[in-house]
Amino acid sequence: MPEGIFKIYCLSEMAVTVEFGQRIAPNLLHAVNSLNALLYGQPFPGFHTTVPAYSTLTVFYDPVLVMKSDLPGADCFEKVSGYLNNLSPRKKTAKPITGDTVTIPVCYGGVFGPDLVEVADLHQISTTEVIKLHSAVTYEVYMIGFIPGFAYLGGMDERLSTPRKVTPRKSVPAGAVGLAGLQTGVYPLESPGGWQIIGQTPLRLFDLNRREPSLLKPGDTVIFKAIDIKEFNQLTTG
């Protein structure tokens, strides 16, 4: 599907979803982020917020304010859909969105990465190679979902593809770096989890005291950097 072609469906009385396709692809991610930026630049009356995902942008609004607006249409869905259709990046007015590059220091193995040895054994490589493969590539943030501040990252080396743990852990600490299938990610909060934990970052992926609590946002580039336990402790106390 070429960039900029989308369909719009109703999610609820206060939200519509703009769907650019049904696969994970850079041009679709770009289309989602472009429309998001465009909409925030030119919001319609009653516009609330958005939730960007792999290939969709969901737009939330206050139905009472949308109904009061001059937008053409018999109901909110028609009014908002009409507005979004005219905002389409087909017009090529949107500048490409470039995210930030975020380096995430990770202390791999040991108490911080209880599954590192298991992952290495499974792939019949050394733990050093696992760390190298994991920290050698750059990742892109596809979307934030699951739990507050959790980033779905794309770009992992296929050689690290690892099945989830047979029995999920009751508790995984905040900052734990895990693998599941072709995905890798960082747990922002302590929670139950079935991912293979290979390390931990001292960074807070979700922090209520920041203006934007989530460290990452869609479109950001992520780099994992191996650190030792001394640096980990310095970063934690500092």
């Binding site: 609820s12 969709t56 929670s191």
Partner: protein, 330 residues
């Protein structure tokens, strides 16, 4: 105004109308499960609709007035009593200092909302006072209420709230003859939940759709503020493909890989990857909030346009109600 919790009940949390600002960062909306009742409790005091209330689940709770109080409650599942005296819902209630108020369970419904003049005073976290238990923030220290907790009201009251207080104040429990009729907003049939087709409605075969819209479903045991598991006939999929995760909201009905249905509620995740057969009409979410494990009900399909119009209509009625309460105390 100040209360102390003597008995917290099974699950009692501070909630407002939700936390919308950070859903793009996967922070759930949260807020009162039954927003209509939360608003009713606030309206009876001429509070802002969004003022923080206590959500009591299956009640069996008690608190003591440590000062004179002006409170009100709405919802289902329990009644407030002071000694032998039943206190009516949907009205401002003046409670003198030292009174012990009990919440006694009733057979129907599961959640009531306790409002206080000005709203309960807890810090705003990410733009809302709602408790989100899974991540431990919002409300009172991000947790459910416990025995011994002290809760205060916000000092700033509207002029009509002040007038209500003045008219009822005395040395015993007092309330006006009028009440705001919360139940009149809800259909007489509480066992039919209206739904709009979800985006993946066509992924299910004709027989499954017929079953979905004609047989009863039961709220499963594994049901909480995040979602309800629905017990009943499993649904067969016509289309087998995978769905990429995208936004879901409270009221979304997802069908899992094994054909079971999950109705998402206030604390649900912000994104999901299961096909969505339907979306509960927003005006019927208060009915869902009052269902409890073991309750059975039916789904009925309405159009997207009808659901929208019902929503707009209810908002207009609620607006008129605020004006009506204010006009009683001009």
């Amino acid at each position: 105004m100040r209360i102390r919790i003597l008995k917290p009940g099974l699950m009692s949390t501070i909630q407002d109308l939700g936390r919308y600002q950070f859903i793009s960062q996967a922070v759930p909306v949260s807020g009162a499960m039954d927003r209509l009742s939360a608003r009713m409790a606030n309206k009876a005091l001429d509070n802002r609709d969004n003022a923080a209330v206590i959500e009591f689940t299956y009640a069996d709770a008690a608190f003591i007035a440590e000062t004179d109080l002006l409170i009100s409650y709405a919802g289902d599942g329990s009644i407030l009593t002071s000694g032998e005296h039943q206190l009516p819902a949907g009205r401002p209630l003046f409670i003198p200092s030292g009174t012990i108020i009990k919440l006694t369970n009733t057979l129907s419904g599961s959640r009531i909302y306790l409002a206080v003049a000005g709203g309960w005073d807890v810090p705003e976290v990410l733009g809302s006072k709602s408790t989100y238990l899974a991540a431990g923030f919002g409300g009172l220290d991000g947790r459910a209420l416990q025995r011994g907790d002290i809760l205060k009201n916000e000092q700033r009251l509207t002029d009509s709230t002040k007038r209500i207080l003045k008219s009822l104040k005395g040395d015993k429990v007092n309330y006006p003859r009028w009440s705001i009729a919360g139940q009149s907003f809800l259909p007489a049939d509480r066992k039919t939940i209206r739904v709009v087709r979800g985006n993946e409605f066509d992924w299910f075969d004709g027989l499954s759709i017929t079953i979905f819209l004609s047989t009863s479903y039961v709220i499963g045991r594994q049901s909480n503020r995040m979602g309800y598991h629905l017990e009943g006939a499993n649904l067969a999929r016509l289309k087998k493909g995978e769905l990429l995760s995208s936004a879901v909201v409270p009221g979304t009905i997802q069908v899992t890989g094994s054909g079971n249905m999950v109705l998402l509620m206030a604390d649900c995740q912000t994104t999901g990857g299961y096909p969505r057969i339907a979306q509960v009409a927003a005006v019927d979410m208060p009915l869902c909030a009052q269902l409890k494990p073991g309750d059975s009900f039916f789904f009925k399909e309405i159009s997207r346009h009808e659901a929208e119009m019902l929503y707009i209509e209810r908002e207009q009625q609620l607006q008129q109600l605020t004006i009506a309460v204010q006009s009683k105390f001009l």
